[in-house]
Amino acid sequence: MHKKVLVIGGGIAGVQASLDLADSGVEVYLVERAPSIGGRMAQLDKTFPTNDCAMCILSPKLVEAGSHPYINIITNAGVEAVQGEAPHFRASIIKQPRYVDEEKCTGCGICMAKCPVKIPDDYNKGLTKTKCIRIPFPQAVPAVAIIDKEHCIFHQRGKCRICEKFCEAKAIDYDQKQEIIDLEVGSIILAAGVGEFNAALKDEYGYKTFPNVVTSIEFERLLSASGPTRGHILRPSDGKEPQRIAFIQCVGSRDLQAGNEHEHCSAICCMQAAKDAIILGEHLRDVQTSVFGMDIRAYGKNFDNFVERAEQEHGTRFIRSRISSVEIDPAQDNLTIQYAGNGRVERESFDMLVLSVGLQSTPGLKGLAAKMSLRLNDGGFIRTTTFSPVGTSRPGIFVCGTMSGPKDIPESVIEASAAASSARAMLNEFPAKEICIEYPAQKPVNDGDRPRIGVFVCNCGINIGATVKVKEVVDHAAGLPYVSHSEELLFACSQDSQKLIDEKIHEFDLNRIIVAACTPRTHEPLFQNTLVKAGLNPYLFEFVNIREQCSWVHQQVPEAATGKAKELVAMAVRKAAYLEPLSNTRSGVNKNSLVIGAGLAGMTAALDLAAQGYHVDLVEKEADLGGNLRHIACTLEGEEVTPFLMSLIDQVERDPNITVHTRSSVAEIRGFVGNFRTKIETRKNGRNETASIEHGVVIVATGAQEYAPTEYLYGQDERVMTQRELEKYLTQNNLPDGAQARVRSVVMIQCVGSRSDENPYCSRVCCSTAIKNALRLKQFDPKIDIFVLNRDVRSYGLKESYYRKAREAGVIFIHYDKDAEPVVTRSDQGLSVLVKEEIIGRTLRLSPDLLILSSGIVPLAENRTLSQMLKVPLGTDGFFLEAHVKLRPVDFATDGVFVCGLAHYPKDISETIAQAKAAAARAVTVLSKDEIEAEGKVAMVSETRCNGCGLCVEVCAYKAIELDPKKNVAVIVEALCKGCGTCAASCRPCAISLKGWRDEQILAALSAV
């Protein structure tokens, strides 16, 4: 057996885990219960806090997973049983029939057009209809139809067979049976996601009773350009544009009344509401949006800014309240809600209500957990622990994404990579999967050889042929310069067409191939592969899109469509004459890695890399390992940190694969992915010694530091201290002054040095820390009065239950506003804290014996030097800025450099561990390869033309261009170039050309218009 992993669930987490594993030599079986992978993210319009288009960023990943040689996607399937132990699991998968042969279906969609049965479309949450036979959504992977047996006339009544009649590919198979697939795998990753709360259960909100009450997921479809209303928000009752929209938060979250499994905070709904409010404001200028919730939980990177944007640019109101009732005005279908705020009951009317439904466990999740003998937590999610955030109760089985608790996309992606790292570490005894296919030697095609172009025009059944006169296009092509052969095909993508193209290449000695068919975005790799098998360089291929961009959009004007198709083919023919064979340059990979920082993140990443057999140089500036974790005694959940840390340090120090450099720093880094050369400076006996190492990847895990307060008498009065200082006393089981009897009252002030003008972000962990220490104080002495002065209580996700426990223990939480910060003074009587309480609208005077400041987390000043050395960016907040906040949360745009832990943003222990493991997994996708293959279509410099002006260096987002100081010309680091061509378009003397998209090629196509 080779390295094999079963991934259950094909949402973004499952897809990410699969890609990470597949990219590091592991064969993956990706089992998805729906007919397409994509999961919930495929239904989202935009993603917070950047408002990236969800489909734009997801779809390339789905296509990549769909065509990855190491990934086997099994859709419409579920896991029935898992036997054995790691790393020898046996899983049986039941695949339900689709009634369509996946091998034969070309995804042309004719069946869907012809099917007479309309059914509600799940993808649009039932807001629109689809057909009984359908491709689930336009970007589905696999793009294969499925028949809904329940609604199929043939299945139910024995006649119809319309889809079968129209299917040119003969893919319909009404007799398809359930299939059982048995797999042997070394490890299993669960990523099947969760469900959402059924809003109808909270009947006080009127969902399903009142027409203008919708859930947040339905609303997301309404906002989407590809949704039922094409992005125009219209009220369901009368199709008018709503003017006043209210979001009701925490529907099915933070709500024990909804059931025992609804205590958690769903972690994403506050930001989703802020996002929807912003998008709404952009769609409808005069819309008024109001968000009713208990706290604004904007605890992630740039989240507070985002909420502020909603407030300031779009006038969104965030109203701290809980809704007691919703009534309808039957005449207009408007909704009046009643809520408590400002100490009295208010009523307000809206055109439309959006219920922010929470995430929750599902019977499916519990069933799966039972089948696999996994423990659940109180929320009904898969149980994990702080120190093992992706481990389940069964060794060798890992979990990621929302299955283990509510979380947003980047955290799911981080956990997915982390799970991949853990799973791969189980597989050390197995060799990597080797795909060895012998390809024929490539026929040399030289500059100056006469182009011999073959043109193949596809009918796509009747998808193209019914509109475009394919025969005419073929004849037209035959008369164009350098065309040696042209031919019509029924389905260009079918297996026999590949054989035919191969034969024609040899018969006519073709050296350029053009296929006019559907879109290159899905089908280009297929045809390129055919070229390779026929001994042609895959870049001697040009695709013409005459389906999506011609026949389908000009159905009423077949003549014009035919004319357009001819011209598009002519453009491709002109361009094809300029195509040239390209090779993907390869460079070797040094298998060593450099991890900078030996706190929790750095040590975790180093251990994961070492566990997978890679050597690590671990560099730490201090004399001791452990970083900030040395100051934390226990977790919110009550786990002891110190023994964990000691064992971690011990493992790091003993691991033969890890070389620890303490009192050291990185003085210089040169090179690029796979080939870095670094100088490490170590302080020894008052002198600096320099060592040079070579490595293939870098992980930045340099951490951050506690904010040093200057406010609230800190440093002036010994009764004022930070949470970290309090924690030290508590650990010694002793309060300051040695006199616990004297401490009767404690005030904690939140957001000290966070969410301020200076540090405008949330430090994420301070609310939990305050809750943790308040609970410990209460344990120490239940009689101590504790007041937590906060701006919002951000005990997101599963932390919410500790917030309840604290309130139950008598801890009093008092909200204060940013503009009315507490005032601290001292006198002979002691400390005095004045705070304006919002709900009763009065100023309270508190006289604490101890004042605890929840001081935030601030980035290290030295981040800047390191960022310049590594050529990676910092955000405006001073933390390292990842390549993409949603889908590449541990990568930098610069390949081979990764980030984790506090260096990236404040986060708690389990999040840090997950991110460190994720960084390791991403690093292994590089380290596991012997060579890195650069893109074929990369930039190239003509040294005779280059002025060395450096403009290209500045515009390159990937730092893939350097100036040669001797020759004074630009040099492309091909391993880093992604082929965007921004440099080429910037270059005045056209010294840079982008292979595959050269100016001559584009101008040639242009000349045929």
């Binding site: 319009d45 950047t50 408002n51 990236d52 288009c53 969800a54 489909m55 734009c56 779809s59 390339p60 969609g109 336009p138 970007q139 989407s224 350009a225 590809s226 094409r230 992005g231 879109t519 290159p520 975005r521 899109n545 389906r547 999506e548 961009q549 011609c550 389908w552 959009v553 000009h554 159905q555 009423q556 004007v557 014009a560 469509a561 357009k564 011209e567 598009l568 453009m571 993409h884 745009a893 279509k937 515009v955 987002a957 990937y958 992604k978 965007c980 061509g981 921004t982 080429a984 378009a985 910037s986 982008l994 998209w997 100016d999 584009i1002 101008l1003 196509a1005 242009l1006 000349s1007 218009v1009």
Partner: protein, 146 residues
């Protein structure tokens, strides 16, 4: 006399606008057939000279479309492109080329309808202007200077 059917070239970035055009197709949204799409990796790949060359070749209009700001597959290509576009558009307009002949837009992979609307808009703009009667290298209809 047959109605004027303009020739319009659209340079679309591979990741968003080209995908948006595909989605318009998958959704069977019908739009004017005058557009000839040239796929490029990124709107940042567009050398402003392509636009001038297209006009010189006798194309009646040019559209360049890329990912919305922030969505760029290559992180920042469209931001650089936007600066270049702003200047080339201003310049061409200044020397006397109708602004509608050269247009720029953002279309995401999820915006099939928007893509079709943009094409309709650009096509109708250019139909209204009539054929490009100057600058063409073939001299067709050139307003000759004495």
């Amino acid at each position: 006399m047959t109605a004027f059917e303009p020739k319009i070239v659209a340079f679309l970035c591979n990741w968003c606008s080209y995908a948006g055009a595909d989605l318009a197709g998958v959704s069977r949204i019908q739009y004017a057939p005058n557009i000839r799409i040239i796929r490029v990796p990124c709107s940042g790949r567009i050398n402003p000279f392509y636009i001038i060359k297209a006009l010189q070749n006798g194309v009646d209009g040019v559209l360049v479309s890329g990912c919305h700001p922030g969505d760029c597959h290559y992180l920042s290509g469209n931001f650089f492109a936007r600066r270049r576009f702003a200047l080339v558009k201003r310049f061409l307009e200044y020397v006397g080329i109708e602004p509608e002949r050269v247009q720029f837009s953002w279309v995401s992979a999820a915006e099939g309808p928007r893509f079709a609307q943009i094409i309709e808009r650009v096509t109708s703009d250019i139909k209204r202007l009539g054929p490009l009667a100057y600058f063409r290298k073939d001299g067709a209809g050139t307003e000759k200077v004495k």
